[in-house]
């Protein structure tokens, strides 16, 4: 893996359910608009491989990680919490702690709905960079933008402001149905790879 790829890859660790989709799109957009590349377990569609192995490989290839633990809550059907996000956060923090010198350069941004909610269920992560997105896409964009802007990678490049970025996100989302129509895709069936491919080309045409 080229070092340049590693330095610009951002692992997105978040829920994949339908109600969260808007937030996922906003996170991906902010990552790309800052000049980085979003990586996510959804990009690997290989039923023959072990899921955790795919995730480990993704984490290995990403210097940055965004972990949204906002959906760590009891499932209505079985009263059990969803722990995939905290598990993958643990893997990422483990790589930062025990990995090679390259892996120790990792940076993580932990997102939740409210800033101190994590203390009730995962208090050991205190001291990490934990921010609240308030379940709002524009707030999530601001968190990602500010975090990547303060990272050591591309530190000589100031990223455009979060408000402008959120406006661009709104514009992209308003054009997405037309784009999908022209490509014979349905917006509600877009895969992660569909979305990022369209976004990459949109950003080329709609430079800052």
């Amino acid at each position: 893996m080229a070092s340049q790829d590693y330095d610009h890859n951002v692992f997105i660790n978040c829920p994949f359910d339908e109600p969260y989709q808007g937030m996922l799109y906003a996170l991906i957009f902010a990552v790309y608009d800052c000049g980085f590349k979003a990586r996510c377990a959804l990009e690997v569609d290989d039923a023959g491989s072990v899921r955790i192995e795919n995730i480990v490989e993704l984490i290995r290839g990403c210097r940055f990680g965004i972990h949204d633990v906002s959906r760590t809550e009891l499932d209505k059907d079985n009263d059990l919490p969803r722990f995939n996000m905290p598990l993958e956060l643990g893997l990422f923090l483990g790589a930062m702690r025990f990995g090679s010198s390259k892996q120790r350069q990792k940076h993580s941004l932990i997102l939740d709905r409210e800033r101190y909610r994590y203390q009730k269920f995962i208090s050991d992560i205190a001291g990490q960079d934990i921010k609240a997105h308030e379940d709002k896409a524009e707030v999530a964009i601001r968190r990602v933008r500010d975090w990547l802007n303060s990272s050591p990678v591309d530190s000589d490049v100031t990223k455009p402001g979060a408000r402008k970025m959120a406006e661009r996100y709104e514009r992209f989302m308003s054009e997405l149905p037309d784009l999908c129509g022209k490509l014979h895709l349905d917006t509600d069936e877009l895969t992660f790879n569909d979305f990022t491919t369209i976004l990459e080309e949109w950003l080329v045409y709609n430079e800052w």
Partner: protein, 46 residues
Amino acid sequence: MAKTKRTIKRSGKIGSVSRKDVRAAVREVGRARSASTGRFVKKPKR
């Protein structure tokens, strides 16, 4: 078997739609938006 006109540019990506198709769609939708909002639209060559 006849070759399909479109090619898959990135394995596992976006079905049978190529990057070129995506680029063309982005350009087309962008132009339409620019025209509707009165922003700069490139004039056709004469």
